[in-house]
Symmetry: C2
């Protein structure tokens, strides 16, 4: 079973990140073509996240129609799950490199970021969510794909009498109020309740884990449902993994080579702490790839969501760096927390 | 279903490329440790093919015991199927990089190649093979892992009255008489029959396809069986794929980014020939990764063995560059041949 073939309810592909076939999408053709002209580019690389990959050929066609015949357009066939996940091979070998569907994790002249904004109307589900939001103060966060409506959401809540608390997170996040699957710094606001507007359970579960003192209300305009985030099931699963790993003698420490998923210091800390820990480097972290390593447990310093969401699919316990510290007795059990990712590269 | 989780009888893992648990293996510890000392290395990268990966931690232990505490040893977690498949990320970021289990595809100071030689006795199966080898001339080829016995095999045949024809292939091959899964140039000898000594059907099937005029006798010392290579089933499967692809309107042209598997000119030729062809770049070529691309058929310019051995696992027809030419009518049906890979990088 591979990371790609089966997935939990937390999977990115359930967050409305794909496009319906009939939906129009302004992918900023003119901006791309201008850049190709300006740079006199011969090679153009296009990278789409999984849910958008089938749009690639059409985008390539549109570009080819408007540029010289000697321009070669290349589609990245690497899996892509976020702005942390640039195809650096293609980026370094093309004159113009376009990354679709995510907001920049770090600004660079080497990449054109083309966002994908949802066209779903968020206000009906916000109306439903009000029931769960007593009082007059509320935090507001959303994902990149609803970011174009963020100011309107804020104004809408203010019109209904709320003092709305928002902030920009750390430098891993482009926009005020934006959360990532691995970073909820924008929810560190002075309010006991936070409204998350967005699809799926991928983001709000991490949000609730990271901010256990707050009530996290999920207004999901994609699946048209309001829920309050509940971390109990999640915590049970994590404690089960930690317990299983307590008997481990050998540890595989994964350092992820994807540009925005490398945490070298965390990996080095585990190695320094433990003579029976072995450093394993890889880009895609999948059950298949780890099965060949004869370890009792793994620590993943790469994407936290692979550890928590895909964890049960691995043949041996897979822990976050913080969970490792608990499993080997360096930290007490009640120190278990959500693994978030800060900074860029 | 991924490339890793299910495989055909041609798969590398059936060629005896793995080591029994109890087997001793001289992996040239001293040479590695000397190099670490000479280069005053701080980072050491180790890459093993799939069947040897579980030996990694023990090798790392042995190295760590003999070098300074500040040396970090890293194991490549990337899949590895040949000398064409160096982990260039790890290679570029380590002071000493060791590639185990394959003979060099290209000599370079950046890589220490540590071969793995089989300890199986090849002569009993060669004795059995004599029945299938009338006359007094024979070609002799084998794989890297039996290379240490090549001269003895040759002498053994000569003692039995044969004139033994051998040659070194092109510069993709290190040794006289060596074949790869993608290159059989060493069998281009002046004899109507060729004895292949080695495990599995992975190599000899390609050998028989590439040299249809010769009788290819397989002496398999791993599975202890003698057979004569039969390409009929293989050809049927390939023709079936070509026929299915004849209706294709859109084509995905795969350029493999692995260091020894890139054939840029072949990819470019298809693109120049066909306006409905789209270039897709990737390292691991798997059914999962291609499923997201809405193409009618694919042309794989990377590893020929993925096309032919894993082909049926892909959701759409997957052809070699030569088969593509047939499917679109540029070449007649009887031009179908085995896709081999020449040169290095």
């Amino acid at each position: 079973m591979s990371q790609q073939s089966e997935f939990s309810e937390g999977d990115l592909r359930n967050t409305g990140m794909s496009l319906r076939h009939d939906r129009e999408w302004d992918y900023e053709l003119e901006r791309i073509v201008d850049e190709i002209g300006e740079k006199d580019a011969e090679k153009v690389g296009l990278q789409f996240p999984e849910g958008l990959k089938r749009r690639g050929p059409k985008v390539a066609d549109d570009i080819r129609e408007l540029v010289d015949d000697d321009v070669t357009v290349m589609l990245s066939g690497q899996p892509c799950y976020g702005a942390c996940d640039l195809d650096t091979y293609l980026m370094r070998r093309t004159d113009v490199f376009v990354h679709f569907g995510h907001s920049p994790m770090k600004d660079t002249d080497k990449v054109i970021y083309v966002p994908l904004f949802s066209n779903v109307d968020v206000f009906p589900i916000m109306e439903d969510a009000l029931e769960e939001l007593p009082g007059d103060e509320v935090g507001l966060v959303t994902t990149a794909q609803h970011m174009n409506q963020f100011e309107d959401m804020k104004a809408w809540l203010e019109e209904r009498g709320y003092e709305v608390h928002t902030r920009r997170g750390d430098d891993r996040l482009t926009h005020e109020g934006q959360v990532l699957g691995c970073n909820y710094a924008s929810a560190e606001v002075d309010a006991d309740q936070v409204l998350y507007v967005g699809g799926g359970k991928f983001h709000p579960l991490g949000l609730a884990m990271e901010h256990p003192d707050k009530k996290v209300v999920i207004g999901d305009p994609v699946n048209n449902v309001v829920t309050v985030a509940d971390t109990e099931k999640f915590l049970k699963q994590r404690y089960a993994s930690v317990h299983k790993a307590m008997d481990a003698e050998t540890w595989g420490v994964i350092f992820c080579t994807k540009i925005g998923q490398g945490r070298w210091e965390q990996a080095q800390e585990v190695l320094d702490d433990n003579d029976d820990a072995y450093l394993i480097t890889m880009d895609e972290v999948t059950p298949d790839r780890l099965r060949n390593f004869d370890m009792d447990a793994f620590v993943n310093t790469g994407c936290p969501r692979i550890t928590t969401d895909d964890g049960p699919q691995f043949h041996k316990p897979m822990l976050t760096p913080g969970e490792y510290e608990i499993a080997v007795g360096n930290e007490p059990l009640d120190e278990l927390s959500f693994d978030t990712f800060h900074g860029t590269w």
